[in-house]
Symmetry: D3
């Protein structure tokens, strides 16, 4: 038997004694491919899938190779989270659902294809989806799929948004569907609740402040990266979480929130960002939120010469799943 699953494990991981981390066809975090999850591990709690699309970028393309690179570097991920003291494979049934079918030449058409694929994954009432980009249009697609799976809640999902940019511009280069407009569209379409949106990490030179003003006026809570790097942010996050209570939350993580020193492989790198330690510590503050979907986007392998961007993205996936596992450990998933 290649895999190993002690009676108390919900996920079968390859036996590291036989299949070392450099061996085997790589799946996200070494989770099983979805078609080989045995019945006793059904229904799947979290499924990860890839969205190899970068037709929505305004600067450097190549994030279409992100899922593949993250699968490779995530071989290093193991199931136990030291700080949260939780074993993902005990708490969750986890799977890699493969990549969505891509329409490479049109963002909107591609989003529709991704949503359709996402709806077919696992048990739509139970299985939660973590999408791995691809560019940030991935988030719109996975938010739409998640929102539908959660019963299309009026008012939309709450949103944790970690990113160097607001991505809330109306139109860029004639398009309403580039990676810079995803949260404008999600808000317009009622998928997210902007008054329950916390955006962390904004920094760098701007073309205009219109979008920032737009967000602030509608009630988005904004913590700039400079603010996030001081102690003061912690209280604002606590307040936001209090306000949030047990509401269903979607988390979107743009890898460019992390500094280019730690994550050079991304399309619009911006200096002065988070260290990976700061990013992990930030995420750990969200332990206990009612997470119903997530994404990690904008990893661009061609600029990731030593693989450290895909590696930190793998850690972010692990941190996100651990946030959810902490909650599930004490109560059954909704």
């Amino acid at each position: 038997m290649l895999g190993m699953a002690a009676p108390n494990l919900r996920t079968t991981l390859p036996n590291p004694r036989q299949f070392l981390r450099f061996a085997g066809i790589p799946t996200f975090c070494r989770f099983p491919q979805i078609q080989s999850v045995p019945p006793q591990q059904q229904p799947i709690d979290w499924a990860i899938y890839g969205v190899p699309f970068d037709g929505g970028v305004t600067y450097r393309p190549g994030a279409r190779f992100g899922p593949r690179a993250i699968r490779t570097e995530s071989q290093y991920i193991k199931p136990i989270h030291l700080e949260h003291n939780v074993n993902l494979a005990e708490v969750f049934s986890l799977a890699d659902a493969g990549d969505a079918p891509i329409k490479p030449f049109d963002s909107k058409e591609n989003i529709d294809s991704v949503v359709e694929f996402a709806q077919s994954i696992g048990d739509p009432r139970h299985t939660r989806l973590l999408a791995v980009g691809g560019d940030h249009t991935t988030a719109y697609a996975n938010i739409r799929a998640t929102w539908q799976r959660r019963g299309a809640p009026k008012g939309g999902l709450a949103l944790l948004h970690i990113d160097a940019h607001m991505d809330i511009v109306d139109v860029i280069a004639g398009s309403k569907w580039s990676h810079g407009s995803v949260f404008r569209r999600a808000a317009e379409d009622g998928l997210i609740d902007v008054r329950r949106m916390l955006s962390i990490g904004l920094r760098g030179p701007l073309n205009s402040t219109d979008d920032l003003d737009f967000a602030r006026q509608r009630g988005v809570e904004i913590i700039t990266c400079a603010e996030a790097q001081t102690g003061a942010a912690r209280q604002r996050i606590t307040n936001f979480l209090k306000r949030l209570g047990d509401q269903e939350v979607y988390l979107t993580f743009d890898i460019d929130s992390i500094d280019p020193a730690y994550a050079p492989g991304t399309g619009t790198p911006t200096c002065g960002g988070l260290t990976s330690a700061q990013a992990f510590e930030l995420l750990r503050q969200f332990a206990g939120v009612n997470l119903v979907g997530a994404d990690v986007v904008e990893v661009l392998p061609d600029r990731d010469v030593t693989g450290i961007t895909a590696l930190v993205a793998s850690h972010i996936i692990f941190e996100i799943l651990a946030l959810s596992a902490v909650r599930t450990r004490s109560r059954p998933p909704s």
Copy 2:
């Protein structure tokens, strides 16, 4: 005076004594920016412009950064061609016309924008255009612009096509305007004369032979890369040139015709290709053709770690202009 132009030079090049090749804002081959060409050097004979677009690719994107990389590496180019014994700057007034305005999210829309820009360059009845990609959709745009500038000749232009692929597929991933369909479209639109089309360099695994059959049935002359690397090809080229006579010719050069060892920076690299010496020797066989337009495409800098792809692309531009200069030397350009 920074520039230098002896009385007998048609192009002002920067004085290499003051502006060494690592200095200055780089233009193609150190040619002047078009707005600074003095009246006595008008009209411009050949203008080079960039098409930083890669929205038509089916595999690896990034060729949008091709023009910038080629401008940088082409600083090494100098005006005299040793084998043809011709000085480009004596024969031609040459200029860098900048980059076309790009519509990044739609190939067809982008082609229209490029054509419109191309039509505005220099003297449309005199100035010939060499477009630097970007992906191979660049060729369609520059062929259309050239065809219009040459009076929209019925039957279309003759075509020299050097490439590892035929790029003559009807539809790819739902699109008629990807980089794999450009010559199908150009033929349909009457811009090129497929019976005066010579395609050199085809190689590598194929999905189907339909496209190859399509081309052969319509009279395209095909010399595979394996054939081109033997002596036998030389006779077939001579025959084609005889058949061609003085007809107006467009030359399109896909950098992937050259082997990945020499040109790793491209989106669909295919092994077993031409060496750069073979590519130069091949081009030199076309000395004397009536060249009215050209392009060099598919340079992808993110995979061009040491810059040698952009460098060889610069040499190819130089070889193409030299082909034309050899002809012009003995007779005035039409």
Copy 3:
């Protein structure tokens, strides 16, 4: 339906309209994973598997990541061979059998583990094995497995060996099982017939000529790389093939037979090697041999900065399968 298999196809390949080459969990040449080959495509004709082991190297390690890199770059491979005019997917049922379980700390122990795994693949009387290294000890393991599957023929298999080195040293750094001794061991163990062994590609500085003398005295046919790059080699190959007749042949291809310009990602690169065009042309001379097993080894991704080594290795796999397909087309596989 994601996959596509016309009635006349023996292998189901992903539909390139839905799953572009940058999408999906990569398998060798996009072949199906062995567990998902449907009954009507059984038995499998050729199975490819990985051997992510490099504990036998004497210089630069890292080839353990070879199978993973080749899976990724081989996404570019398509089923039709232009020069042989054969469609692999029509002729063969093909599959990716995953990676062998590795014993990373001991070459001999690892070989035993690989052989045991190899024996379990497909139908042992029918399915032929192409192993992808990993270091050259992979060859010993796959030769042993192949020899056993072919009924342990007395006298051993004939061997086509393409390599910059003889790999026939008795002991290196105290070990009889490093990558430099594999053919010495295979000969001693009766797995190969040294009088039916053709070794092509030897070049570069040597420590001693003992091994060369050993090989020559026992009847190995040696064509050095310098010889192979002249026309004279062709006749010697023809003579060898005549002598070989229909005997069962194993082909081992060390990527370092190709020049470091074309294949920088290998552990003992040696200058003055074959171009990839020369390597393909060389292999094509073997069309028609009775190939019963093969390997492609010594790809070291950490030195393969632009991926061209893994890419050319993918082409070599394709060329090897095509050699076999040419034969099968006219007669059923034995």
Copy 4:
């Protein structure tokens, strides 16, 4: 119209709707080339020029390619500074003045050439100069030019010096004009006032402490990098600024003050340096100083594999101009 300049803008920037950041011949921060600044935007407030010289280095050369790389990566820079809440293009007329003519074989001769070129830029009584290196000898040249343009003030300019090294050695390898001696020379020549010199960032192993002692004895205020990374430095900076008052200040920024993780592309990288966030925060403390000239030096592209060093250098240029803009906003430039 390609450019866009609303009535209240002093600088015409390319329209990002037509010229995306990957298009066009790159100038520093997309500022116009100086010859194309229209009369109504004259006189230019700040001009940036390149000094592609590295003949003064004592370790790793290649900074001659710094200006070119920074022009490329600075395409990402936009005009609005979030933390200072200021729009550079509203406050200033900005231009790229090209590169100085270089004397590649002699530091002193080159400095003279650079100074002569610098004096010719814009309106010498109004236009301030930001020089982009090249090695740190760039600073001497630009300080001399600035000092002359400010009326050759007796006592010299005040100096903000951010660097991992003091660059105040008398003679290195027989030369008084290497990049390690620039501030010694500037002090001797009366261009800077060492009692109004603040040097921040010193760190790493030393050959001798003579230079440090020399600086301290003459009144240079030194904050080591280790000190700068604690809160204590803030008070010392405040005291220095109080002492400085409204005196004219020159700012020199050696990219090696930033840690090699953030800025690997430099000639004498030293570990334990500033993060880019720390560097930005440090610079922001100088808002309001009377800045009359500046430089950013020692970017070495060949070691800047992912471009992050040139990117952070672009951000530093942006931060420096913003410092000046904050002051100008409330009062007219002197």
Copy 5:
């Protein structure tokens, strides 16, 4: 005379006026090769030697090239430590003792070879050894050699262990001698005193907590990386040092304790690590300990594209020697 040794220097360093840092055959930190240390500089106080072995790794190999890369990058190291205000070359006679003879195919056999070589270096009663890996099995070998040279003290040496992993697993992939088991073996063999072991830097996903529990139960003091990045760790270190008193201490530094942004070139990179500034500050807290041996391990040059990992490793060597020099300055070495 190429070297320079003022009367008060114990180590002859190359004259930087004649032999610039880019010249000469590189030794560790430019220290003399051991065979050329003159009698008046005998006995040597600290000798550095390389262990180019990586046969003990469980993930990415290549650390066998670590000593060579560190020799190259350490050319930048100079003798004076700014913060400790100590000149290594005044306090110590220092030498590069070359590389140990390697047994590449067996960890245990290699350890024996390294120990035998280490015992032959300098004056065993006086000369202390700093080993440069190679993988972490280097530590076991150098601890054993040091322990023997210190008289095989019952109870073993105290241990400062800085690392992202505990390396205290019993058996991995069937081996007791991989890099993940070195401190388990050292404890079993009585070479180290686990109750005097301080382990700093643990982080990242885990396979199991057994090893952590094992260590804690036996009295190992563990400060996780997250803890080390807060102020609280300082007090725990002070307490440990108080408990330690003047006991003989061995320090082992795994470069992966530093974050991949700062040290990408390592075999099992883990995100969220120390910055190099944090690592230096951490080490400086140990000034005054009675250091009798040390190692710096796991530098993997093939993943260290810009050389910053080998550079920071050089700084770590410098910091370690400086720790010892601070103590020696005030009292003679034991």
Copy 6:
């Protein structure tokens, strides 16, 4: 005993059983450092030394790191030449003489320093010198040293010059001592005999043909690269060698004679060059010449991402020494 020298060996090489190629402080081709050559191996026949200088370059600097990189990659070199069937270590006493002291800021001053150093190596009447650059000014220095050691022959040495450029320009950027003028200076100073100069490899765009005309008029035999790649060159070389007879010859090899695909790491790469196989075959035609000195120059490691340039340079050193060994084998060296 680490080294091994059978009674019939003139050079002691490290025992590859104990010191594998990845171990030890690297010297050129693993030859002993000159100070450790035992008396019975004196006098040394050929000494290799490094010239880490690049102050003479007109384009991309960095060749100062060439000697270090070549030492590292040349660890792969072994003593026996397969095609010439000669063992260098049997025929010659060989040594690495270290690097010359460098004057980094002035070409002429540096040349004088190198010549002085070269004169001190080995036995000036016997030991021949192979200099490893550094830039091509290295050749002038080593030619001068060789010419003096050979008794300052009137008329100068014959010269075999393999290079993509003539390097015979009078003045560049105001300097008579850049790398582009070395053979002009050597001819003027009577060190070489231009009528006994064969220059092979010229190619690429030119600024002027004056230098070419200058050379031709004075009797230099020029074989362009395009000519060298056809069979016709062989006869011209034979004729030159006949004309040369037994005259003393110096060989200078600029790595840029080889194509950038094979040698990307150089300062003025030019496309269309020799393959490494062609370069070796070319050199082998010179077997038997009376070689009295040589150099290999212009290796620039920062552009040599995978090390293949330094590797091919190592092979070139090996080929040059083998040329000389072939002659020495049959007669004693003069």
